[in-house]
């Protein structure tokens, strides 16, 4: 009975943590997406995000830095950009870089004591990941083979039919309504991710949670797995690592931050709504291998000061 209650408690904490940490970013993403839908024309978006491949990818990353689109919110904005005719590489770069480079996550990293180095590492890795991912996707000339076109929002910012027959409606109201619709549309995915993450957290053995005892590789693996299952936001990741600075190994801290930023339960579900399975698989493999490589490179140079 005690074991069941313990598992139930772990499930509850895991579920609510994923839900509560992601909801703010989802709401911000919904608002940003609604603003893009109503304040920018297709021509504006295409002028910025559809030029030469490298240029458009860099614009995508810059947009991710400026816009508050971390942790899931970036998927909503990327989807809206695609609907408005942005190139797939640019939208993918924005989506991939969002969690690691957004101003909220960067600000939280710089503001947290002793975390500036790790936050900087995450920022740089996010940019490299987004750049590589964008350039890989640029090799495919047919967008339909990369994205699920049927899941793009409808023309008119989704609130078109809702507002039909209401005459002149202010843009502010249209933005708020579109944001509500997008937020509610993505909410089931968040709840499914939280259920899945909470369940897996409750089921895996307690010894697998960081700090894991054993070799460095085992500690890193435990840390990476935990980052994927806890699916914390970019801000929550930082706080967790900061709280475990004394007990986690340096490698485990890095892996937790880098993997958590790129691949976790909720992000896989969110990205899977836009990208086809094959692309999603590329993304997971790319981010895991790059995180590992970044860790090895830093290790060979004696770690972060």
């Amino acid at each position: 009975m005690t074991a069941f209650l313990d598992s139930a408690h772990r499930f509850s904490v895991g579920f609510e943590r994923i839900f509560l940490e992601t909801a703010p970013f989802l709401l911000l993403g919904a608002f940003t997406s609604a603003v893009v839908a109503h304040l920018f024309t297709d021509a504006d978006i295409q002028a910025l995000f559809k030029g030469g491949t490298l240029g458009s990818v860099i614009f995508g990353i810059l947009a991710a830095v400026i816009l508050p689109v971390g942790d899931g919110g970036s998927a909503l904005v990327a989807r809206q950009l695609l609907r408005k005719g942005a190139g797939v590489p640019a939208a993918a770069a924005l989506m991939a870089a969002g969690p690691g480079v957004t101003l909220i996550a960067t600000g939280a990293g710089l503001g947290a004591t002793g975390m500036a180095g790790l936050a900087g590492l995450r920022f740089a890795t996010a940019i490299i990941l987004a750049l590589v991912f964008g350039l890989i996707l640029a090799q495919e000339s047919e967008p339909k083979r990369i994205i699920k076109v049927g899941n793009l929002p409808t023309v008119g910012g989704d609130s078109a039919s809702l507002l039909e027959g209401e005459g002149q409606v202010s843009k502010a109201k249209a933005i708020v309504l579109t944001a509500s619709i997008e937020f509610l549309e993505w909410m089931p995915l968040l709840v499914i991710a939280a259920l899945l993450g909470g369940l897996l957290q409750a089921l895996i053995p307690g010894g697998w949670n960081p700090p894991v005892s054993g070799s460095g590789a085992w500690q890193n693996a435990g840390s990476g797995l935990w980052a994927m299952l806890t699916a914390q936001s970019a801000v929550g990741d930082l706080h967790t690592v900061q709280n475990g600075l004394s007990s986690w190994s340096a490698g485990a801290q890095r892996i937790y931050l880098l993997v958590g930023m790129a691949v976790d339960v909720k992000l896989i579900l969110f990205y899977g709504r836009i990208f086809r399975f094959k692309v999603l698989l590329y993304w997971i493999l790319l981010s895991l291998s790059l995180s590992l490589m970044a860790g090895l490179v830093i290790e060979s140079f004696g770690g972060l000061s």
């Binding site: 039909e164 937020f183 509610l184």
Partner: protein
């Protein structure tokens, strides 16, 4: 009227979600789930959901008025249009998990 009812239900769901998040801060249980330093994000989200609910509800009210004035000619024409909120029942899950496993 089907779509109008759905809009009202969406507003209700948003309000419940917003109040749920605000209540977690109010009774201090937020610290059981997330780092308290993220309280400001949760607070703003809760507040945002309540405001969204109010705006969505006001739209529903306006639509009702228009429907009466227009003798209800167009209301049900695209009841299954782009108002993609069919999964609203999902919003109940966080509350259930909170209440059952707290």
């Amino acid at each position: 009227m089907k779509r109008n009812a759905r809009i009202k239900f969406s507003a209700l769901a948003l309000a419940v979600l917003g109040l749920f998040q605000l209540s977690l801060i109010w009774d201090g249980r937020l610290a059981d789930y997330v780092d308290p330093r993220q309280g400001i994000l949760v607070f703003l989200t809760g507040l945002g959901c309540v405001i969204l609910a109010q705006v969505v509800l006001s739209t529903a009210g306006k639509r009702s008025t228009n429907t009466v004035e227009n003798d209800g000619h167009k209301e049900d024409s695209d009841a299954e249009g782009s108002w993609k909120s069919a999964g609203l029942i999902w919003l109940v899950v966080p509350l259930m998990v909170f209440l059952l496993f707290r």
